[in-house]
Amino acid sequence: MQATKKKIDIDYTKYDFKDEIKYVYQSKRGLSREIVEEISYWKNEPDWMRRFRLHSLEVFLKKPMPTWGADLSEINFDEYIYYIKPTDRKGKSWDEVPEKIRQTFERLGIPEAERKFLAGVGAQYESEVVYHSLREDLMKKGVIFVDIDTAVREYPEIVKKYFGTVVPPEDNKFAALNSAVWSGGSFVYVPKGVKVDFPLQAYFRINAESVGQFERTLIIAEEGASVHYIEGCTAPVYSEDSLHSAVVEIIALPGSHVRYTTVQNWSKNVYNLVTKRAVAYEGAFVEWVDGNLGSKVTMKYPAVYLLGRGAKAEILSIAYAGAGQHQDTGAKVIHVAPYTTSNIVSKSISKDGGRTSYRGLVKVQKGAVGVKSTVKCDALMLDEFSRSDTYPYMEIDEELVSIGHEATVGKISEDQLFYLTSRGLTESEALTLVVLGFIEPFAKELPLDYAIELNKLIKLEMEGAIG
């Protein structure tokens, strides 16, 4: 028992530590045309991107704050630092990464995971990617896995063709913000028929206080290609809030398969407002596996537009909200083409006054016959102070479809606890076991090391669940 506790303590400090780093450049607080120009200047971008940013800024300034969903009234856009350049160099080996930053990623276990089971790694620190690698055989097959800044310069045609097409700046206020000040993120391109056998991983780390991180990820899977991309996110705890507002765009061309896995464990003072969307062409298959444990507020609804006949979407998510947290998460599937299928499974846990909301949309356009869609939302509330809401929207404009929706809100029953404790488990051990069982459908979709890490985090959160 003692041993386990100790281990968990160590685990916690694993994320909550701060580095003293001298940055190469740091913009002043607040957002203006000048700041946007500065970012573009530091990145030495082509003019089309500079113009894209400036246009996006205008869109951002015009759009009102969303009033639905989580409470964003405390966000003050003038307080954030929108761009921090931590280093001049981008490492292709960990030795080239500045020592302090390298140590950060070592503490987070990234180089070790890379050696063990990843095909490629990107590591972002504040606003810039500091390390990038890809297995050589994949490089030879034409797979591209670089930070997106590099891609803008080195692969302009393909970036220009797809960038901002899935999530345009006009989509929502935070997509516009990201489009204006984006920095870092990954660019993944998998050529026709190439199957990337091991996952590619990106790791995002916010270190400084009041910083905004606005990475932008673009994934293109050509016909018949397949790839699994994983991202992890952490930050230390500061008294002032940070803002993470990412945009992820996935283009799954005919017959391709893209799986995008996220486990975010942002500290509980980060606003995490992310737009993730994929388009799936004929016979393509897109999966979002989305885990939300950290952050103060998360608003995120991974979406798939099923544009081609027979395309398929699976969105599997868990949300955990403890004291002071609101996880407003869900999924969105738009069935445009006939015979497309979607499957949404959402699980949420709220505890100590935390709040989870499932917000989802299933839309079937006229003419999309033979569509099949199932939505299943399960919420688990661990005490009477916590809250869980479900907002499942359906817009079905075609009759020849099969749509299923199922929602449950539960508490752990006295009888369940009695049964488990009657075999010798303490009440807190029993509760943890039930919660781990509840998220098992999610955990089993993660690579083993991530599943273990997730279970550890949940155990940590559950500790002392019983007064």
């Binding site: 028992m1 029953s413 006295e414 009888d415 369940q416 009695f418 049964y419 488990l420 404790t421 009657s422 075999r423 010798g424 488990l425 303490t426 009440e427 051990e429 076991l433 039930v434 781990l436 069982g437 509840f438 998220i439 098992e440 459908p441």
Partner: protein
Amino acid sequence: MPTLEVRDLYVSVDGKEILKGLNFAINKGEIHALMGPNGSGKSTLAYTIMGHPKYKIESGDILFEGKSIIEMKPDERAKLGLFLAFQYPVEVPGVTLFNFLWKAIQANNLDSTSPRVSKLPKSVIDYKRELIDRVKNLNMSEIFIYRPIGVGFSGGEKKRMEILQMAMLKPTIAFLDEPDSGLDIDSLKTVADVVNSIRSQDLGIVVITHYQRILNYIKPDFVHIMLDGRIVKSGGPEIVEKLEQEGYAWIRETTAESAD
């Protein structure tokens, strides 16, 4: 000193009095049958002994090896060596029997001084070996242990799951709450065989049942009849036969007489 002793126990559930001055005692190595019509309080006794929070002790005491346990939580009672095979085990989605039972054994292993605990497996390898062995004895497939607790189990599988856990946890006193209900004759025999195979001088068993059928296979040393929250008659196996022939009316009559 009996291993487990219940003294003049009054218990209420949601304000309704169920046990009304119950006395009972069992030693290790003995098998008792606890019979009685529906609502007489048999299951209530088992739940109260195991410490279900809904069952409120109004007065009386429960002693395990001479010490009162009524302030203990269910897990502490389990670690002492008490066990309850549930009539209706719960479902716990996502938690396999294999994982749960190993956690339970690890929790029981914490008290390394008890002689009972010395018989529990200490490594996961030994645990798995023993578990698979016992699953086979219950005529079940190994896959059973990797299924989530209770989820999609048939009535018979649930009963076997309980007996399997009892066999693995090696309690000192075990209550089997209607281990026979809903079982066909073959399953009943299998369950009884396993119970008989783990009979020992270190284990006391209380079989709670309506029917004498299971007692043809698990032979009790003592039989108790419960009526309206009390044990009204105790004796040897001969009571079972008489009960079978004459029904509970016979007990009601005799107790009514003695009450007069």
